[in-house]
């Protein structure tokens, strides 16, 4: 009996170590809200650029992508700043690696899509393929780094959407993009947020037990 109690206590200690180490390395789920935010931003930009909204401002379709993307970037930056007002999360090697992947992806997208647009070569299907493939690359690299199969699955969906967009019609390419956004940004983002809240409760419970 006493031996069983001791074994349980030792097992609890091992679980506590694993939970706390995971908490220290946690980097993706903390940012889950940005995944959802950018998914919504893509939907707004697509709806705006396709003329779904009316009015003097919304009627300026050419402004849809630049305004939405810059606006979302500013919103992400502001909200991230607020997130850091409490206890600032410490830096980790994994966190830095993930940040570098997404920063590099954002710069690559900007460096490619802006000249494509300015140069008058922004074919919609090619743009969807570029965006989807780059998002696939970033998701795959992050997923491999933190060994998260769900994120790697998102990468596969992005790659498939990117490839598919080059075959069908313009409308079919847009549908592929919308479906990928739904699964990889909205559904995956909400799933990551649920994981985050679950883990937070688990970790605090383990340390206080």
């Amino acid at each position: 009996m006493e031996s069983n109690v001791k074994d349980t206590e030792l097992t609890e200690r091992l679980e506590l170590i694993a939970n706390m180490m995971a908490e220290g390395r946690r980097s993706t789920t903390r940012w889950a809200w940005t995944i959802v935010l950018w998914g919504v931003a893509f939907y707004v930009a697509i709806a705006w650029s396709s003329g779904m909204f009316g009015g003097p401002i919304w009627g300026q379709h050419y402004m849809a992508w630049p305004v939405t993307m810059i606006g979302t970037w500013l919103l992400t930056w502001t909200l991230a700043g607020r997130m850091h007002k409490g206890a600032k999360a410490p830096k980790t090697t994994v966190g830095r690696a993930i940040m570098s992947i997404w920063t590099a992806m954002g710069i690559s997208m900007f460096a490619l899509l802006v000249p494509l647009g300015l140069g008058g070569r922004a074919d919609q299907q090619v743009c969807v393929a570029v965006i989807a493939t780059l998002l696939g690359t970033a998701n795959a690299a992050s997923g491999i780094l933190i060994k998260w199969k769900a994120q790697f699955a998102c990468a596969v969906v992005w790659w498939l959407a990117g490839a598919a967009s080059l075959f069908g019609s313009v409308t079919q390419s847009l549908i592929a993009f919308l479906v990928a956004i739904f699964f990889c940004q909205i559904v995956f983002g909400i799933y990551a947020m649920i994981c985050e809240s679950r883990r937070r409760r688990q970790v605090q419970g383990a340390a206080n037990a």
Binding site: D7, L10, R13, M20, K88, A207
Partner: protein
């Protein structure tokens, strides 16, 4: 029969173990972050961190950011080695329990 390993009493305390495990995954961490993650009180957390510091397992430094004081903790090499030894000892004890059970 092989001799069973002893568990390091400095690390064995639940809060101290949680703190060392948290610090093992990061470069350095603020006092407030450690408090948030462990859900501990300021007094208890400070006392446990001091014990770890006295044992040489963590190092503390203070700095000012935007005129606000900040206390940062990082795990030392000695602390890393001690945590590894503790985990090994735990595994060995649990392994023995499985064999004898």
């Amino acid at each position: 029969m092989p001799e069973l390993p002893e568990l390091n009493p400095v690390i064995h305390g639940k809060l101290r173990l949680a703190l060392l495990s948290l610090l093992s995954g990061v470069d350095e961490a603020e006092f407030t972050w450690l408090r948030e993650k462990t859900g501990s009180t300021d007094g208890n957390l400070g006392a446990q961190l001091m014990k770890l510091e006295e044992a040489g397992y963590v190092a503390m430094k203070k700095r000012f950011v935007l005129r606000k004081p900040q206390t940062l903790y990082r795990m030392t090499e000695k602390g890393r080695a001690a945590l590894s030894e503790y985990v090994e000892a735990l595994k060995q004890l649990l392994g023995n329990a499985v064999i004898s059970g």
